[in-house]
Amino acid sequence: MAVQTVASSTDSTVDLGPAAALSCRECGHRVPLGPFFACEECFGPLEIAYDFSAYDTEELRRRIEAGPASIWRYAPLLPVPADVAGKPNLNPGWTRLVQADRLARELGVDAGKLFVKDDSGNPTHSFKDRVVAQALEAARAFGFTTLSCSSTGNLAGAVGAAAARAGLRSCVFIPHDLEQGKVVMAAVYGGELVGIEGNYDDVNRFCSELIGDPAGEGWGFVNVNLRPYYAEGSKTLAYEICEQLGWELPDQIVVPVASGSQLTKVDKGLQELIGLGLVEDKPYKIFGAQAEGCSPVSTAFKAGHDVVRPQKPDTIAKSLAIGNPADGPYVLDIARRTGGAVEDVTDEQVVDAIKLLARTEGIFAETAGGVTVGVTRKLVEAGALDPAKTTVVLNTGDGLKTLDAVAGTGLTATIRPTLDSFREAGL
């Protein structure tokens, strides 16, 4: 896939850096930059088309390396104005890439070859800060005063925090039965938080209808009408991984799949780095990870289908519980194109993987991280993932948000404050 470029911006009144237009991923129909997300010709997803033509590779590399320790070091490759780092936002990103040798030993991966990209270190403790930061700039550019979203939890917190920092109103919508930790972490920022009686797909449908209603006028829904901008934030995961590996592509990446947006944008980010000459081109494989209780994409992958049949989610991995994934078909395309796969694990395997990552690397992942680590183990065991190749596993959120998943974990013993009692306990 070539880096998408156009000669010049079609809307000179909007300053979103190198973003030049919106282009339909399905049919190529092009429209000026605006708060649009679906193609008026075929309903396909609109994406950002960029003008990167002026960049000199080595000058760009120097500019990135001299940039801030946040996603804004990559501002020249994102739909944001050049002065974005000086505006009030959460400055997410540049999270740690952990060389995970103890985990590698447990999984049967060669020493020095396994890395965990730990995005729990973002300001609201999930990768969602990356995408919301892009949507916030688009909301500013288009004059929205309310920031909103449909969320499985993590996004609600990220939107609430970003709006608070930027001085915007927020009103976000979540399934009514989310984990308590995520509810509190979304509500604390002071915006409005609305529980919808239904699952995420119901919430998403409601938000899509609200956009077309006068009640939703002036609202920037980060993952609906600002989705083309929002989604670009996930490219920064790819940029950071490559830069942290010394400007090299990893051989294999394991990415969680909910809507599929993150996986498709990680691939887009890698392709852009190749196109810009910032990394040497070589084959890489992208693997998608789902929970068995919500596995529409892995089911389609295994069946050899190129369409994704929606499912009713039933899994503890609620941040991945999207039964009707918008970018599912693209995940299938990318997994097949790169020689990767899409695999799923049971809830029990998710919990085991959370504990495995915690006890081997000191990283407490939320359930989505348990899904990626669990799927990595399954892929290694099946021989689908090469243990001798550089592999990056994404942990996209903090385990403190999903404490219920590991609720059985607790005290080893309760003793009296005496040495005798300590010895009796066999410690």
Partner: protein
Amino acid sequence: MSVTVRIPTILRTYTGGRAEVSAEGATLGEVISDLEKNHTGIAARVLDDQGKLRRFVNVYVNDDDVRFEQGLETVTPDGAGVSIIPAVAGG
């Protein structure tokens, strides 16, 4: 069978800007055919060249996603609400 169809913003150029229109039909397929009679051009946006629902269109009859039902053969009872929604949201 008369139903109410909610029209997404990107299709309102075909309905004179109206967010809701009435249509007739005992199944979703018939409802779309009736929509096309009164709002020419709308069917080609919702259906592909083979006459199937485009993959990035979600359609609900009342609260049910027609992909869980019978697709274009899904029954549309009198008074039902039909919603046409772009599928690319969320995540």
